[in-house]
Amino acid sequence: MASVTNPSTVSTGSPTGKALREATFTAVMTFLMFALFIGLKTDQNMRNELILVPRWGMLAILVVLAFVGRFAMVAWLQPWRAASKAAKAEAPTVDEEAGFVKRNFSKLAILALVLYPPIILALFGAQGSLKYIDNFGIQILIYVMLAWGLNIVVGLAGLLDLGYVAFYAVGAYSYALLSINFGFSFWILLPLAGILSAFWGIILGFPVLRLKGDYLAIVTLAFGEIIRLVLINWQDVTKGTFGISGIPKITLFGIPFDASPNGFAKIFHLAPSSAYYKVFLFYLILLLCLLTAFVTIRLRRLPIGRAWEALREDEIACRSLGINTVTTKLTAFAIGAMFGGFAGSFFAARQGFVSPESFVFLESAVILSIVVLGGMGSLTGIAIAAIAMVGGTELLREMDFLKAVFGPDFTPELYRMLIFGLAMITMMLVRPRGFVGSREPTAFLFERKNVSGSFTKEGHG
């Protein structure tokens, strides 16, 4: 815990002395906190009994690191930061002209995404590119879409929803069950899954509308968990924890992506490879993301979108202006849920397998944290947050070279969620309002001026 400050150290004496004192305090704290958990490891012996394996060396390293880290922070980093802050305050603020990249950021980003698969294919070949297109490209874009969908509920309407993953699950199971049992194609089921999810959004949204803030968050969490538990326990339909496998793949207007004579590869005289399907999926989810963004941007400029944002700012004032807050909230829930449903059915089709494991509370927390870290309401910020959080943790899977440093037993994947959690805390502490704290107005008379984050509210319910 690097930034714990000792309450008893009043800033007296030399900075080095202060740093030493604080560093010692931190080291002692670290020792006391980690002695049991790092210093000793519970392990099973041959007789399946628990034994303790001491790891005093690791504990010592940690304590020393805490000492050095704290010392460096107090002795050098804090004075330096204070100095640079003072320098910044003195220097006059220059209105910098927005550069070409900044002005056309979203266009350039879309262009880069469109060009991403061919570039990766060219660089790594059909086989080598799978990882980059699938794990990074598709995975991140799914989260971007989910976070943009949740952004409508949390970022625009200010309704704190901790059970968003339920709608993702509804979409995924709708596709899985309907395509297996009735043989409908993805293109019919995509809208259907969206509608079903929206329907569930309304059903779950209706009773909770009068709840405020944290209470709303907890009820939505409860609903999310109920849906997951039903998926686990309703085994006749959902096959419980085993999940549903063999979900049909998506076809390109009837052309399947397989090795059959009328498959995609044969028709276009290409060497058979699973890369085409992945590239196709990449463009599909990109398209779905763009649809989400387009709808969100349009909705913000429509009365319903403005009513959402007004609701986030002050619900009572909304009612005094004749706005039916019940339907306004329900539409936010329904539309947010619909995008969750779209993403869910895409997810089911991409995996070919769904199980309740994929729809745990942690997923909701991850999506929510992406929305908040991105800066509530800002599509760009949210996309950046999704890349940072999902891409960053995916990157850990790739860090095999760390094995050379920490030994062959070291599995970086294990640390993925630990680092994710720590990153969430750190980013929130550094930028409590997210990457993009300002809000773009939906209409203007003379000039478009962004609204600073200090004026916007985060909603009460």
């Binding site: 958990f37 803030g213 409860a222 538990l229 927390a365 640390y415 969430m424 409590p432 985060e458």
Partner: protein, 300 residues
């Protein structure tokens, strides 16, 4: 009838554990209006601390009398867990106090993820079983009560009594209640608000650590994911009793324990968690102030 009483006893035992965790939720919510999402994981951490102390006693001293072992486990676990929660409050929550309302909630979720995964990384992902520590069972007219159930209920009652005394009768408790009512005014009257909040976190963690240790003793097994479900159930208990109310948290905990054991006994065990979550939803929707909480009036 005997079966029913048996389930009642099981439910009370479980409810004691939930009640102890619920107090931590209710106190933190009362004082800073924040749902401490990581509290369930603090409880899990307490259980692991108890586990390691137990193993330490077994390997270093080759065993100890049950009472001594239990006492050591409880005390060390309380101390270590309190220290953790104290540090977490200072690093992750305090800097965000007074800023954006969602920020502390997100960091709390982050702390929750980090804590459970820290234990997974540091102690391994598998179940950690320990042999039965206490295995005497008394049978009275067909109803069996195990010694560990008695221990749990007795410790809970003793802790609650001392806790009640602290909150109601000491200057510390008064400072807590004042901070809860109006933080700014309390600060103006010379109450060290930051310190009071820190102590609240420490107290909540200490109780959660006791709950975690007793959970370990009762079930004889613990795993790094054990924070989430008991955490949500304890939160349900806090809400059911009326969040912010200490007796409410205890009553809510007992009710949730009873409902859970009776539901498993008479209905289907598969849906017992669904029952808890459904109760949570129902209480919040129809009586958000809970059983003992004060209703909030909408000010226009």
């Amino acid at each position: 009838m005997e079966y029913f009483i048996q389930q009642l006893i099981n439910g009370l035992t479980l409810g004691s554990i939930y009640g102890l965790i619920a107090i931590g939720y209710t106190m933190v919510y009362g004082i800073i209006g924040m749902i401490n999402f990581a509290h369930g994981d603090i409880f899990m951490l307490g259980g692991f601390a108890g586990l390691i102390v137990y193993l330490l006693l077994m390997t270093v001293f080759g065993g100890a009398p049950i009472a001594v072992a239990l006492l050591c486990m409880l005390v060390v676990s309380m101390l270590v867990t309190s220290l953790w929660n104290w540090s977490i409050e200072r690093t992750a929550y305090r800097p965000l106090r007074g800023s954006f309302r969602l920020a502390p909630l997100i960091t709390a979720i982050g702390v929750s993820i980090a804590l459970s995964n820290f234990i997974q990384v540091a102690q391994g992902p598998r179940n950690k079983p320990i042999p039965q520590m206490v295995n005497s069972v008394y049978t009275i007219e067909g109803i069996s009560i195990s010694l560990k159930q008695i221990i749990i209920v007795v410790i809970t009652v003793a802790l609650l009594a001392s806790f009640w005394y602290i909150v109601e009768k000491t200057p510390l408790g008064r400072a807590q209640r004042a901070t809860e009512q109006d933080r700014k005014m309390a600060a103006l009257l010379g109450i060290d608000v930051d310190r009071t909040i820190s102590i609240t976190f420490v107290m909540g963690a200490a109780l959660a650590a006791v709950a975690g240790t007793m959970f370990l003793m009762y079930y004889g097994v613990i795993v790094f994911t054990d924070g989430f479900v008991p955490g949500v159930k304890a939160f349900t208990a806090a809400v059911l009793g009326g969040i912010g109310s200490l007796p409410g948290a205890v009553i809510g905990g007992l009710l949730i324990g009873l409902i859970e054991s009776l539901w498993s006994a008479y209905f289907t065990i598969a849906y017992k968690d669904v029952a808890t979550f459904a109760i949570l939803a129902f209480v919040l929707i129809f009586k958000p102030s809970g059983l003992l909480g004060r209703p909030e009036v909408e000010k226009v």
